[in-house]
């Protein structure tokens, strides 16, 4: 049991250290293709960290959006623009660092009041979570409590989200279309 906790801690520390190294490298490297590759690595690290923190659905979204879709989008942007970043003379670097440090310190100060990770007495575990965990098997009949919350207890909410995503996809298809495809030959006719 101790060994399990130890290896979980080790994975946490290793993932966070890798994320730190990757973040600094993303800020410093001027070759934008390398930056896109590194941001894909960053998303994979974040997704692994979410899995270790037991947020499997968040991890899945991070992997699909961060490592999958946004890599494709950024590569497409590179194809339209350039893959070299212009080196700007940045005289405001120290001001930016001070602002970042202040905001980071405020966030850390705000997180001091939060309940510990996995604390059973945390407000989030007291409200409706016991009802979901105890009764969802009898009420819904799905083995995964998260799925029964998303698909049944909050079914209307999820349906609204699906409508929004569907509308967005329709809009994107209308805007982009497939104009690059050659028009079909007129002589063939269409039945």
């Amino acid at each position: 049991m101790n060994l399990e906790i130890l290896s979980s801690d080790l994975l946490n520390v290793a993932m966070l250290a890798f994320m730190g190294v990757t973040g600094v490298a993303i800020a410093r490297i001027r070759n934008l293709f390398a930056v896109v590759m590194l941001s894909g690595i960053y998303s994979l690290l974040g997704a692994t960290l979410y899995v270790i923190l037991d947020a499997v659905d968040v991890a899945f979204t991070e992997a699909a959006v961060g490592a999958g879709a946004s890599t494709v989008l950024m590569i497409g942007t590179l194809a339209l623009t350039s893959d070299r970043e212009k080196a700007m003379p940045n005289s405001n670097a120290w001001k930016g660092l001070i602002v970042c440090a202040l905001v980071g310190a405020a966030l850390v100060y705000g997180s001091l009041d939060m309940p510990l990770f996995g604390d059973p007495m945390a407000p989030a575990q007291q409200h409706v979570a016991p009802r979901y965990l105890n009764d969802s098997m009898a009420e819904i009949g799905l083995p995964n409590a998260v799925t029964s919350v998303l698909a049944s207890y909050r079914g209307y909410d999820t349906m609204g989200e699906v409508f929004v995503i569907f509308t967005a996809a329709c809009g994107v298809i209308c805007l982009i279309g497939r104009t690059r495809r050659r028009p079909a030959k007129k002589s063939g006719g269409d039945k």
Binding site: L11, V21, G40, A63, R182
Partner: protein, 96 residues
């Protein structure tokens, strides 16, 4: 114990792949580093599932492997054509 050793091995390999992505002089070494890193993330999630006595994580790692594949396809297409909207030249199979 066995799974912990495996996890340590995967983490060490991740560090090496990350170093290759950081140094990697050529484009291809960086593509390969990201691909290897995705595979290692898949393996790490699978191993962590067994460390934590939840082998259901294997499903999750399979989905990660699929996502990893999409990114690699897009990157190799960009490197080959330098254009994501490469036409299909009337080929009925599309631009695959």
């Amino acid at each position: 114990m066995m799974f912990t050793v495996a996890a340590v091995g995967v983490v060490v390999t991740m560090a090496m792949a990350l170093a290759r992505a950081l140094i990697g002089p050529s484009v291809y070494s960086r593509i390969l580093a990201v691909n290897v890193f995705g595979t290692l993330a898949v393996m790490l999630i699978a191993i962590y599932g067994f460390i934590d006595d939840r082998p259901e994580f294997l499903d999750l790692s399979i989905v990660y492997a699929l996502i990893n594949f999409i990114g690699t396809i897009a990157v190799t297409k960009y490197v080959t054509y330098a254009d994501m909207g490469h036409g299909d030249d009337g080929d009925p199979a599309g631009d695959i």
